[in-house]
Symmetry: C3
Subunit: 481 residues, 3 copies
Amino acid sequence: MKSKIHLLLPWAILMVLTITFSGQVSAKALMLKPFKSLSDQSKECVACHKQEDPSIYAQWGRSKHFGANVGCYECHQANNDDPDAIHHEGYTISVIVSPKDCSACHNEEVAEFSASHHANAGRIIGSLDNMLAEVVEGAMTMNGQSPAAVNGCWQCHGSEVKVMANGDLDPTTWPNTGIGRLNPDGSVGACTACHQRHEFSMIQARRPEACGKCHLGPDHPQKEVYDESKHGINFYANVDRMNMESAKWIVGEDYDAAPTCATCHMSATRELPVTHDVGNRISWTLRPAVSEKIDATAIKQGQTVKTWQERRRDMSAVCDACHTSSMIDSFYTQFDSLVELYNTKFAIPGKRMMATLQEQGLMTDVAFDEKIEWTWFYLWHHEGRRARHGAAMMAPDYTQWHGLYEVAERFYMELIPEYNEYVEKAEKEGKHEAAEAARKVLAEILESPEHLWFTGNEPKEVTEARQKAQAEFKKRYANED
Amino acid sequence: MKSKIHLLLPWAILMVLTITFSGQVSAKALMLKPFKSLSDQSKECVACHKQEDPSIYAQWGRSKHFGANVGCYECHQANNDDPDAIHHEGYTISVIVSPKDCSACHNEEVAEFSASHHANAGRIIGSLDNMLAEVVEGAMTMNGQSPAAVNGCWQCHGSEVKVMANGDLDPTTWPNTGIGRLNPDGSVGACTACHQRHEFSMIQARRPEACGKCHLGPDHPQKEVYDESKHGINFYANVDRMNMESAKWIVGEDYDAAPTCATCHMSATRELPVTHDVGNRISWTLRPAVSEKIDATAIKQGQTVKTWQERRRDMSAVCDACHTSSMIDSFYTQFDSLVELYNTKFAIPGKRMMATLQEQGLMTDVAFDEKIEWTWFYLWHHEGRRARHGAAMMAPDYTQWHGLYEVAERFYMELIPEYNEYVEKAEKEGKHEAAEAARKVLAEILESPEHLWFTGNEPKEVTEARQKAQAEFKKRYANED
Amino acid sequence: MKSKIHLLLPWAILMVLTITFSGQVSAKALMLKPFKSLSDQSKECVACHKQEDPSIYAQWGRSKHFGANVGCYECHQANNDDPDAIHHEGYTISVIVSPKDCSACHNEEVAEFSASHHANAGRIIGSLDNMLAEVVEGAMTMNGQSPAAVNGCWQCHGSEVKVMANGDLDPTTWPNTGIGRLNPDGSVGACTACHQRHEFSMIQARRPEACGKCHLGPDHPQKEVYDESKHGINFYANVDRMNMESAKWIVGEDYDAAPTCATCHMSATRELPVTHDVGNRISWTLRPAVSEKIDATAIKQGQTVKTWQERRRDMSAVCDACHTSSMIDSFYTQFDSLVELYNTKFAIPGKRMMATLQEQGLMTDVAFDEKIEWTWFYLWHHEGRRARHGAAMMAPDYTQWHGLYEVAERFYMELIPEYNEYVEKAEKEGKHEAAEAARKVLAEILESPEHLWFTGNEPKEVTEARQKAQAEFKKRYANED
């Protein structure tokens, strides 16, 4: 698709936009000047398509692209040797407009995106989730792929788009707007995952629903968590005051009633420029079984990345538009404490238990064929994330009832009894050493102070201290009861 | 209630409205001309009720009915021999305005509705759900009916409205706005299920929340599925551009930002007229345990109905306002593959297992007194529907995490072990033949390729092919990792 | 914080506002006249903070406070001996503005709030939920408190805010906007729980999302229930017609399209003044395991409170703005029947079973260390509430699929089998008397008519009557099928 840039260059003057945010200067985005008039090619596209696809025509008519004379052909043109090039009414075009195509004008945004976790979302194939989609839930019945992957996983993570012999896109792999889509032109991502075609409205991309395309549901309910939080409450109540169409959209300048997902994770503040690297201001990763600081993996691999402290400082700069620094710091103290509680009390022990069964040869090699595998997966992948996400965005119902309450039940009422069944079975089968090793691991876990209550071994003084604190609390407020 | 039509006839001229949609002509709806002035009877109603019920008065004042001089009496008048006629301030009226009453003016809409699945919703009584409401969850403690049915099932499906000896509506059966309500005048349905009184706003009826009165929740979460989809995302972002008050509301002409439930299932396109038969554009039924094409039952019964292909062609015509035909066709290829995967891998085997236990006399005759009955019900009625609905509307989280992931867990971790318990119990009780027959059925199921992984019998070459594909995929993208 | 009132008094004239609602006279709210101009102190605050905290400045600029010259200092000023007083730029202020502070102007609102259940929300500490947060889910790892309580329970219920030695607020206890917060000045509550700072917008407080900060989730999904109901459907469709900024906001006068949570539970009607005592119009408590009328506990304790009949009469007065009295009465008949069904069939027997195991010494003394304790808790605290809330607000999916359906499954498929395991274990351990006593209790429960189906003992005539009714129903409607 090199031709596209080639074609655009003679028409436009590349310039470095120096964007000034509240006095701060930062070099930002190469950007093409608007075209003087709509190209002849696009005029010809429009002549038919305004009849054939009136909605697309109308959406485009409302877009900034229209105002800048960026038409159908400027985005959809292709080279003859592009893998997905098709010939259509005398022109060579492609159906998919990839980030590589968008980068002809929006180069900095694409560069930021390409450095983000979002850009890796399509590469999960071969991972655990893929085992679920291809084997456990699915079957390779659709052109050698699993309909569970096609309709499920890939729709958020992105497919590897294939072009068929006749030049059409393989329906197994497209339609697909997964954010990490692997495109025929070798580029990664789908800008339309968030910026829906053909208006590419900033309002739409800045709203929480945009993120809720993927960030919702039992396993990563960020949208629901946001909706419960005071941030979400204020957004819905004040949506008309959010100045959502503002070009710069700086929190504390252009709007102040509430933040959306974009505000905190991507958008400009008085100090920070907008970024399309969504992890840029995140200090913990809440995705894996055991949470760690977001730079931990990179550090282990000897890479140099933006540290978690720098990211937290930047996120705090967003908070700072509306909150005092003492409130921001205290919030992080609370949030950190919850993640560490989850890690220490449930995630690290749970992970160790699962590893022990594996190491001792008590489980099969096949994933998800035994109940305890589902139990553990629910604990960290669904419930544990809900607890952590809830704390991250101050949505207490997710922290508690959708979160830690269910984590605790899963740990004590399912994981431990199911683990014990393996130990007993091993014993019966004469695997005394393995049984003993596994028994010892659980015993060690249950001897740590936070689990003593469960085995009836809470020290008398702890129970009494709690009862005393309760009694004193009641006494303090009894006169008001 | 014949008198209503009788009364209206002398006042109004019936005329066939020829509605021209984008040049297409179709005969549509008999419709009364507006009344010249408000009737004396309605004036008298209003004199009191504007004080007594100011909200109803105000809602009516905003309605098209008000503009057309259709007042209280025009809709609420009754005949002396109507079962629910009451005498009120010198007039004979009825509280319920039934579809029969509405049909005096809106005859075509009522005819379309009456031919739809919606119209049959009240006749589920006597079905499985009714066993749940009357026996399992409930008790016949409210006038010989179950409060679980009264407050639950009937509120969506519709009650059989009874008139008490004193002429009042039996509180066991009313208030009720279930869409399949069985009315005292013999008519079926409740227009107010979707068109809420007394404004009967088109905006309200066209919004997704209208359908969400019933189409939501763990067992049929169409509203939640829509909200997650790109269609829903765009609706909420662009609600002010949807031109929701437009009389004709043709997608691609009057609006283009997003479709609502009504857009796809009911509303006009450039080619199709509006319809109140909600199943008219649906090709699969996703309701039963095993999905089949929507005309399959009718064909088996020797009836001639609109074929699923015709319905799909019409739905595609809606999609066509915003999407290319290659995208529409590819979407259907993806969606069909998911339904067929669900049918083949889980629903047909599950149904067969349940039938086998029944046939072999291993279960009681009472529904829902054994765990496996709940397990199976959750699988198809809750989780299986979620997976299918998710795929139907491109909401991947519902397809995957709310859907197939839970279907797979239910099938392998609950249904099969519980089934095996029946087999073992039968063996212990000396029912060797029944046990053997049941064992054989499960063995057959688990021998099919998509289940071999679970028994550890996946052919070596399948495992290796998957591992090889994974390795190649990783290699292809490793340089970018 | 006495000084604040002291300071305000010389500036303002206290006056009794006689508010006339629809001809009804009621003495209401002491209220200060607006200040003539912004105080010098607030001017000085603003000089810096409009730079430092531009969002707070902008929010305040939109508030009624701004219009009345109520600035930073009027609310944040403190006495030197206030526990949370800090010295800041030459002034003595406190970060927390408590209900005591707000009551300087809004005395009646604070008085109403203080008499409500909301005001007691912070005093749950020492209760069952606290056992969950401190011991089962948590650990006392954050300054001697549990992160599960800090990030979960307390965020809705309220923390006991502590001031550290250096005068800062203890991050273990703040940020916190729980509605029953125990403040350093001895007052109870957090007005900002619902009235979010610093605009204190009536629109925001009147919207359902405001209540959804806490009233949502698996255990008390009032927000979700409302959203499903016709009330919610109409709210979202008509939000622009709700006149949400109206000062008096009387339903039937200022708006009529839909009620929000506030409309029914708090806001003014033509007969009733606004109230900040949220329980004032509630007739049942749906919170505990077994529902009782809301005045029942007070009556048992010999207290005189507003009776449930008076509360129901007042709620009915709200309904009356839009509904006829026959509809209101019939609704309550339906709702009551559902609560009573739940109580009789599931809650009272379940509670008795749990008490029996305890009394017979068959359970440990530790809460939540045995599966049956979680089972019972889910039944009443999650599912049983969902069923009752669904019926209370006419959201049938919550009554049925999220509610009674799951209650029934939990009761028959988990509670009873788990109970029987205790009986069998007791038998095996030689505790014959305890086993016999427990067995007898369950037998008695299962002999009551609504449970006979489960033991296969449904009288033949009951089964036949049901089948006959079903057959007749089918016959009645068969001709239309």
